[in-house]
């Protein structure tokens, strides 16, 4: 048997709290309903309110996770496309080598003359996607 010091109100409150918990789990359902009604509470309404409140939290958490996952995918795709693009000079050099090896590609690109920077990068992206060029950096 353990005794709580006389001046330890917190321990006393906690002991009462635990005793009440113990008791509430022994109260039969019909009696519970009766007691709640005595206190002006409807068990069904209360259950619905607690359940829907918790469900709403679950939905919020799912929405948050979804938004986070989407943001993560966006960042990943942006950083991936940035990473596989070397400098414009390197792009031109690699493409020139490729055009020499595969002239048909050069025709499709109008022999690489008077192309804008966007055209070069656009072609680069297409060729990387087609597997004609593997990802390289400026160091390559």
């Amino acid at each position: 048997m353990s005794q709580i010091p006389k001046n330890d109100s917190r321990a006393k409150i906690k002991a009462i709290e635990l005793a009440l918990i113990d008791d509430i789990f022994k109260v039969p359902e019909a009696e519970l309903e009766h007691e709640f009604a005595q206190d002006g509470l409807n068990i069904k309404d209360l259950a619905n309110s607690m359940r829907s409140g918790a469900m709403e939290l679950i939905m919020q958490e799912r929405r948050k996770k979804l938004a986070k996952a989407r943001a993560g995918m966006l960042v990943q795709s942006i950083s991936k496309s940035d990473k596989r693009r070397p400098s414009l000079d390197a792009v031109k050099r690699v493409l020139a080598e490729l055009f020499q090896a595969k002239p048909a590609l050069a025709v499709a690109f109008r022999q690489g003359k008077s192309q804008s920077e966007t055209d070069w990068y656009s072609l680069w992206d297409d060729l990387v996607e087609l597997g004609e060029i593997s990802e390289i950096s400026d160091e390559n």
């Binding site: 917190r10 709290e17 008791d23």
Partner: protein, 201 residues
């Protein structure tokens, strides 16, 4: 939800558990949350404490072991949150376990916090502030004052505090089991009515 549906993610497990709860389960959980607010916390209503327990489970601050039934898990989390909240409110100064007291020179700790910093003190990490203690004292006084003329309930409260089993009350004080159970019910119903939870801590 189909039995073979994947319940590994916490939101799905919670969702599954919530729809399984009967009205009586909810009622008991509500009462449990209500009792946990005794002594003053920053939660104003039982449902608020319950929602906090759900939120902490969802965001991973609390781990719900797969083998643990939802009912027993969630009331333990509510209890733990309420306890921590009471301690937080009682904090005049919070000390972490590794904040060992200084023992040298003019800076030496000579006040009540001197024992902090030892592993056995880590659970508390706090000093009581007068306000928070007052709230606990007040709630206890409300209960004791209400039953001051009811010797049976007072005896039962003493038994609860001192962990005296009912059979001992029967042999030492002649309190029958029926009287004991009736007194426990009186105490429970008083607390439920007197402390509905909606109050300022």
């Amino acid at each position: 939800m189909a039995e073979d549906e994947d319940l590994t993610d916490i939101a799905s497990r919670l969702e599954h558990a919530l729809v399984q709860m009967t009205d009586a389960n909810w009622a008991r959980l509500y009462r449990a949350a209500q009792y946990f607010l005794l002594g003053g916390t920053s939660y104003q209503a039982p449902q608020e404490l319950f929602n906090e327990a759900i939120q902490r489970t969802l965001d991973g601050r609390r781990n719900w072991p797969p083998s643990e039934p939802f009912g027993s898990y969630i009331w333990m989390v509510m209890r733990s949150i309420a306890d921590a909240d009471r301690r937080m409110q009682a904090n005049a100064i919070e000390l972490l376990a590794n904040d060992a007291p200084s023992t040298e020179g003019a800076a030496a700790d000579t006040d009540r916090i001197a024992d902090f910093g030892w592993p056995e003190s880590a659970v508390d990490q706090v000093l009581e502030a007068a306000d928070a203690k007052r709230q606990v004292d007040e709630d206890l006084k409300v209960i004791e004052d209400h039953f001051k003329d009811d010797q049976v309930v007072m005896l039962v409260i003493m038994a609860i505090e001192d962990n005296i089993p009912p059979r001992e009350l029967e042999s030492d004080y002649g309190l029958t089991i029926k009287q004991y159970e009736s007194a426990r019910k009186k105490l429970r119903r008083f607390v439920e009515r007197q402390f509905p939870g909606r109050r300022n801590a």
